[in-house]
């Protein structure tokens, strides 16, 4: 093997942060598994990621050593559990560069986080005089009040979780739902931005990285327009927070949502981040324990965020384990993970491009996209593609990926999707390509 020296002054190999994938893989017990007699090739991390031992240990350790309810006990275990739970909140805040840990609201997942915002709007819109629902000593904030003539803007690229809650909100309030189209190349079509986002717009809710096309949306033009018209911006970062460095100050959004299980954490824990001032002005959604200031039989007043939005006993161990996941990812380094996936994506786009009669949906260059690639193999149905790949140990997702409007946009009922993470290797992409040849043999 010959090596070529890159002239000084040019970008060098070591300029980008890297990590040893083999060592990372050793942290994930499940990656030792065999599937149908073949080594596991897990290409479904956009669906859910695997969990490193560090996260599994913290989950077990919490129940084994520190289990108690949070925010209500004076005893030692209660104090330990509360410190661990609030400590996780602080870790997650730091991970996304939130100015304050109080801007991090724990939810069940991204879906619940989006619904929480939608129902806060709903509650603020119910009665003009519904000050009982408003934050203490505040009038219901006009920014959250929706009615006929007001508009909510989403895009054709959304996961169902960022479509249906807004459809329901518009049905309840009489507001109108509008959306950005998607280009043939799988990018957000911003050409109609000024007509779409107007003084009538109350909130724009967009996916940051598409779970089906892999597209990463550049948001700065949209943010500028949203500010100009005085609307709010929510970014669904379910697919971006696990894979790229995210800085909420830099993004300049009003809310972001993401979910723990796609970022090496457990299921059952997600995050709504909101600007502190906004959360403080939002009416509560779920009522119950922990979210109150004081309760009488006739009425209640409410705690400050984030407690206002966390009624009942939260998923404590899950939150603590998500904190451990964030520690794990930070230890490896998000810029290094981003770069690893960029190289994998470039490799995979090339490799898949060599498969006869394979059509990629979404950007075909590794720029402005992440490591999630949807494709069609001739006219073989994705279910059949996935079944043959599974028999070879290759785990991909097939179907509409909870993004039916995207499938309709590209004229297919379903796609096959391969998605990568920090533990994915180029050998696994080779196994996918070899598996696709096997699919051909069965169905040609």
């Amino acid at each position: 093997m010959t090596s070529i020296a890159i002239p000084t002054g040019m970008p060098q190999y070591d300029d980008v942060p890297r990590f040893d994938v083999a060592r990372v893989r050793a942290d994930f017990p499940i990656l030792d598994r065999e599937i149908n007699g073949h080594p596991l090739v897990y290409l479904d991390s956009a669906n859910t990621s695997h969990k490193p031992r560090a996260v599994l240990d913290v989950l077990g350790e919490h129940y084994a050593r520190h289990n108690a309810n949070v925010s209500r006990s004076v005893h030692t275990l209660g104090t330990e559990a509360t410190e661990a739970y609030e400590g996780a909140r602080a870790k997650i805040a730091a991970f996304i560069n939130a100015p304050s840990a109080d801007e991090v609201v724990f939810t069940k997942n991204s879906t619940e986080a989006i619904n929480l915002v939608a129902y806060a709007f709903s509650n603020a819109s119910l009665r003009p005089d519904a000050s009982v629902l408003a934050a203490p000593s505040r009038e219901t904030d006009e920014r959250f009040r929706l009615g006929p003539g007001d508009e909510v803007v989403i895009s054709e690229m959304e996961h169902h979780s960022n479509i249906v809650p807004w459809q329901l909100l518009c049905e309840r309030t009489g507001a109108t739902l509008r959306w950005f189209p998607v280009t043939d190349g799988g990018r957000l079509d911003e050409s109609g931005l000024d007509d779409l986002v107007t003084e009538r717009t109350k909130i724009v809710s967009l996916v940051h990285m598409s779970n089906i096309l892999g597209t990463i949306n550049a948001t700065s033009r949209i943010t500028a327009r949203v500010r100009e018209v005085g609307a709010l911006l929510l970014l669904d970062c379910s697919q971006s927070v696990p894979h790229l460095p995210i800085d909420v100050v830099d993004l300049d959004a009003d809310y972001i949502v993401f979910t723990g299980h796609k970022m090496c954490g457990p299921t059952g824990i997600g995050v709504l981040w909101g600007r502190g001032e906004l959360l403080a002005a939002m009416p509560p959604v779920f009522g119950g324990g922990s979210m109150i200031e004081t309760v009488t039989m006739a009425r209640s007043t409410f705690a400050a965020p984030p407690a206002r939005f966390e009624a009942g006993t939260p998923p404590i161990a899950e939150a603590v384990a998500l904190g451990a996941a964030v520690d794990y990812l930070t230890g490896i380094g998000m810029p290094a993970i981003q770069w690893h996936e960029k190289e994998l994506t470039a490799y995979a786009l090339d490799a898949l491009g060599s498969v006869r009669d394979l059509r990629i949906f979404g950007p075909t260059v590794p720029v402005g996209r992440g490591g999630t690639i949807s494709f069609a193999l001739g006219d073989v149905h994705p279910h059949d593609v996935g079944q043959v790949l599974d028999s070879l140990g290759v785990q991909v997702r097939v179907g509409h990926h909870c993004a039916k409007p995207v499938c309709s946009r590209f004229g297919v009922p379903a796609t096959t999707r391969a998605s990568f993470y920090l533990y994915t290797t180029t050998e696994e992409i080779d196994a996918l390509v070899a598996g696709l040849e096997q699919v051909r043999k069965v169905f040609d």
């Binding site: 149905h381 994705p382 279910h383 059949d384 079944q387 179907g399 499938c407 379903a414 169905f443």
Partner: protein
């Protein structure tokens, strides 16, 4: 699991060369005609099954759809097995097919009853695919009921 148990030659043959595909009008104008459109919400498979019957005989079962090899081959087999049969006979076949698909691979199919349908015995071992195989059969059941004939077994809980 052995892939060829799932994708038997008979299934691939029906998939590549479907029998009786395409929605048709009734030849006998006196027939009751009704159809049902079923979708598999998890994967987006769709099938429309149309039944033409005089109440005693299923004169035609026509269908159209898009989906995976299992669902589309199953529609072809359904057409071949039940077209021209008396309703009572047809529902006995329907019941046998549903029983086979609900059997998790433990049911031995009777080829005299199920014909090419026996090829789906392997599908019953793949819980994620049972719904694919049943999709046209459940659409048929609805279409037949709308055309005024019988009610066959309840949908399985796959």
């Amino acid at each position: 699991m052995q892939l060829d148990q799932l994708y038997q030659e008979i299934i691939l043959d029906h998939y590549k060369h479907p029998h009786g595909r395409g929605l048709r009008d009734a030849e006998d104008l006196g027939d009751q005609v009704a159809e049902a459109h079923h979708v598999n919400p998890t994967c987006g498979d769709e099938v429309t099954v149309r039944v033409a019957t005089d109440g005693a005989v299923l004169h035609d079962i026509s269908y159209d759809g898009m989906g995976c090899s299992i669902s589309q081959a199953s529609a072809s087999v359904l057409h071949e097995l039940l077209r021209g049969r008396g309703t009572g006979e047809a529902f006995a076949v329907h019941e046998a097919f549903v029983e086979l698909m609900s059997g998790r691979g433990q049911v031995t199919p009777d080829e005299d009853v199920l014909g090419d349908g026996v090829a789906f015995a392997g599908v019953a071992r793949y819980p994620a695919r049972v719904k694919c195989a049943l999709l046209p059969w459940m659409a048929f059941k609805d279409a037949a009921a709308r055309a005024g004939v019988g009610v066959s077994p309840e949908e399985v809980k796959a």
